[in-house]
Structure formats: structure tokens, C-alpha cells
């Protein structure tokens, strides 16, 4: 009985993925919590094409099977991602857990997925039929549901090389290490010549999906800091209407209050 496939190249991985019903296994740190005796894993942790962090003219390209430690050790990793990853779990988990697994597990509490949402990163999804690159906000289709097809693998995450340096990040957890976010928030405010050319925010651990509302953030784009101040209360009110937290171990009211406090702090730390 075949109960696993070990891929040593991307081509091999895609062939296995196309012909059998397998669970892709990158780092295992989410999968092994509820180890299933009947599952057939496709092991991806030794697929070289999924282990690189490189840059091209537009993007930093992060292999989906890169561990959080690989992310921390790469000189190419943007500071916002490095900071978020440094708060994930503890060293032993960071040595196994991967960004691809964090994204595909589909949890709204995923610490690295939050950053990829807040930076409008793209996902390169590949199958033996071909490949497609989609914005990460089109990948999530509701609680634990993603756009990944049965024969596809997430191979790379594409992050913009520019415009990410002025960032804000806060993870609110119950402790320092091994904390699951109660609320997490990441944002970018990119200014050029005194004008906001991009504003991107994302709220994690609040709803079934990570919340990324480009339509609301658009209220600030194209404005100076002074002009942004004028629409600040409308902007906050829009989020106040749209963020509807789910109740978990902690109350929805708490989550909502923290979200709004963090959003306000993000604006005020930028003089808005």
C-alpha cells in the first residue's frame, strides 16, 4: 500500500499530485497536530524548486517550502515579513514550519499569510497542466477554503521589491512565544513626494478570512498627510462598519476594539 510520495523535483511532485489524492506536506507543523493514519502525504520538504528565496526585476520570490528560519536568514526578506515571522511560535517550529503551509492551511490566524495579504503579494500556482499567478486575496474563499485545485501546488510567493519599507505590525497574543494571535494587524503606508501612493492594511484572527479591504484603503491613496487627516474619521468609520469579528475563545467586542485601536495607532504613527 502506498501511503506517501517523496518528491525530489517539482516535476515529480506535480506528477504525483496529478495522479493521486494526496495531502501536500511541506513542514508538517499544522498537519501533524491531528495526525491522520489514513492520509497519504506528498512530501515537498526536499523539492529544490520550492526552497529558494531569489529576486527578479519586480519581485522577491519565496519558495513555498521555505521554512520560517529560511525567511529569517535571507537577506532578501522584507523587514515587515521578517518581523512577523520572528514572532511565530518558537525556534523548533520555525525550523520546520513553512510559508506555503501557513498560507494553504487557510487559517485567518496565519501570521505570515497576514503579511502577504497586507503587501498584495501574488501566488504562483503550478500543476502539470500549466501555471497561474493570482493575487493572494483571490486565494481565500472562506473558512479553510482556498482556490488551490486538486492537482495544483503553491510553488512560490511573489512579494513586491519596493514600497514595503514603511510598515506597521502588531500581533496581540496571550504570551510571547508559541502564541496564537488574538488579533493581528499589518499595514503599509507608502509615501512619495509627500503623497500617499499606496495604503494597504490587513486584519488577522478576526474573521473567517484575513480582512483586506483595498476599497476602503483607497480612501487615503493620492492624498497628502494633511488631506488624509480630513478623511480620517470617515476611513475609521468605514472599517468600523465592515469589521464583524467572530466570537472565539475571546469576545467579538474585544477583537473589534483592538482592531480599531491598532488601525488608529497605525494612522497616528504616520502623523494622520
Amino acid at each position: 500500500m502506498v501511503n506517501s510520495y517523496q518528491a525530489t523535483s517539482l516535476k515529480e511532485a506535480l506528477d504525483f499530485r496529478a495522479k493521486a489524492a494526496v495531502t501536500p506536506y511541506a513542514g508538517g507543523t499544522d498537519l501533524m497536530i491531528k495526525a491522520d493514519e489514513n492520509v497519504t502525504y506528498l512530501f515537498l520538504n526536499k523539492v529544490p524548486e520550492m526552497k529558494n528565496i531569489v529576486e527578479d526585476t519586480d519581485y522577491i520570490r519565496i519558495g513555498a517550502a521555505c521554512t520560517f528560519t529560511d525567511i529569517l536568514e535571507s537577506k532578501l526578506t522584507p523587514a515587515i515579513l521578517k518581523e512577523a515571522v520572528s514572532h511565530i511560535a518558537a525556534p523548533a517550529i520555525r525550523n520546520l514550519g513553512t510559508v506555503g503551509g501557513n498560507i494553504c492551511n487557510g487559517s485567518p490566524k496565519a501570521d505570515s499569510a497576514l503579511i502577504f495579504l497586507a503587501t498584495d503579494s501574488k501566488l504562483r500556482l503550478v500543476s502539470s497542466r500549466g501555471e497561474r499567478v493570482i493575487p493572494i486575496n483571490e486565494f481565500y474563499l472562506g473558512r479553510k477554503k482556498t482556490a488551490l485545485q486538486a492537482d495544483e501546488l503553491l510553488v512560490e510567493i511573489l512579494m513586491s521589491r519596493v514600497g514595503l519599507s514603511n510598515y506597521y505590525y502588531k500581533k496581540v497574543g496571550a504570551r510571547n512565544a508559541l502564541a496564537i494571535a488574538r488579533v493581528s494587524f499589518a499595514a503599509i503606508l507608502h509615501l512619495e513626494n509627500g503623497k500617499i501612493v499606496n495604503c494597504m492594511t490587513a486584519f488577522g484572527a478576526v474573521s473567517d478570512d484575513i480582512i483586506r479591504r483595498a476599497d476602503i484603503d483607497g480612501m487615503l491613496i493620492g492624498k497628502t498627510i494633511e488631506e488624509a487627516k480630513v478623511v480620517k474619521e470617515d476611513y475609521l468609520a468605514a472599517y468600523d462598519r465592515e469589521i464583524v469579528p467572530i466570537r472565539g475563545r475571546i469576545s467579538a467586542e474585544y477583537r473589534k476594539t483592538v482592531c480599531m485601536n491598532l488601525l488608529r495607532d497605525f494612522l497616528e504613527s504616520n502623523g494622520i
Partner: protein, 155 residues
């Protein structure tokens, strides 16, 4: 069948690829220095060094370690570095019940390999995934600091 290096020896496990490394080490190879605490990556009692890095052996399926090197406390205790850590831990009574200590020692090794002269913050981050319910950690943090000094040149 999974072939891997266990404490420097090539071994072949007959376990299924989706079994936990932790269970295989304890049940098939009788490597009982690897402790089972939580089976969800929270406690660090099952820590081993996998290809040079600290990992929770409860979080690794056998199929992921084909061709890899696994070091447990049984292998590590034969090293000079262990002797330095052993002495340092004893000198400040950093061991009480002992359940966390195999993992804690391997975490200490990984801290010192990464940085032979760690700050207290580096040490606390390095053991942040290893729970100890007896000591309150201060003695362990101190012991790792002492080992860094006493073991100069070893790491």
C-alpha cells in the same frame, strides 16, 4: 521504510511514512530520552536536532526525514560539548524533575552553535519552545550562559 542517520548510525525504520518521528524513536528504536509531552509542538520535550536544527520530533512525519540526520540526547551525551553543558546545569541546580532536560540540552546546543556568545535575550528566545514546569527558567538561562563561558572554543 525510511532510511536516516540516527546518532551517527545509518538506520532503517519499518514505520509508515505518516508516523511521527517521536513515536518511532521511542517505540521502534527505544530512544527514550526523547520525551512525549504534548504531541502538538507546544512543549519541546521531544526536541531533537534534525540536520543541524532543533525540531519537535512530534511534528515530523517519518517520510519527511528520509536521508536526514537525527541527533537525540543519547547521541549528544557522548560529546565534549555535552560535558560542558552537563557541568554547567549541575553547577546551578538547573535540573529538577528532569523531564524537559533532554530537549532543553539540545536547545542549548543549538543556541550556542548559532551564537557562541549569546545574550540573555538570545538564550530566552532559544529555549522559548521548551517548557519547564519546575525551575522557573532562571537557573537554566544561567547554566547556558555559564556553558558559553566555560566551553570557549567548543562552539
Amino acid at each position: 521504510m525510511t532510511k536516516f542517520m540516527l546518532n551517527g548510525q545509518e538506520v532503517t525504520s519499518i514505520a509508515k511514512a505518516n508516523e511521527r518521528l517521536l513515536d518511532v524513536l521511542r517505540n521502534e528504536f527505544r530512544i527514550t530520552g526523547v520525551k512525549c509531552g504534548c504531541k502538538e509542538g507546544e512543549c519541546g520535550a521531544c526536541s531533537v536536532i534534525l540536520d543541524g536544527r532543533l525540531v519537535n520530533s512530534c511534528m515530523a512525519a517519518m517520510g519527511s526525514i528520509e536521508g536526514s540526520s537525527v541527533i537525540t540526547i543519547e547521541g549528544y551525551r557522548e560529546t565534549e560539548r555535552f560535558a560542558v553543558l552537563d557541568k554547567a546545569y549541575a553547577s546551578v541546580s538547573a535540573v529538577q524533575c528532569g523531564f524537559c532536560i533532554p530537549g532543553m540540552i539540545l536547545a542549548s546546543e543549538c543556541i550556542l552553535v548559532k551564537n557562541p556568545d549569546p545574550t540573555e535575550a538570545d538564550i530566552r528566545d532559544g529555549i522559548s519552545g521548551n517548557l519547564c514546569r519546575c525551575t522557573g527558567y532562571n537557573a537554566i538561562v544561567k547554566a547556558i550562559g555559564i556553558a558559553a563561558k566555560e566551553g570557549e572554543g567548543l562552539w
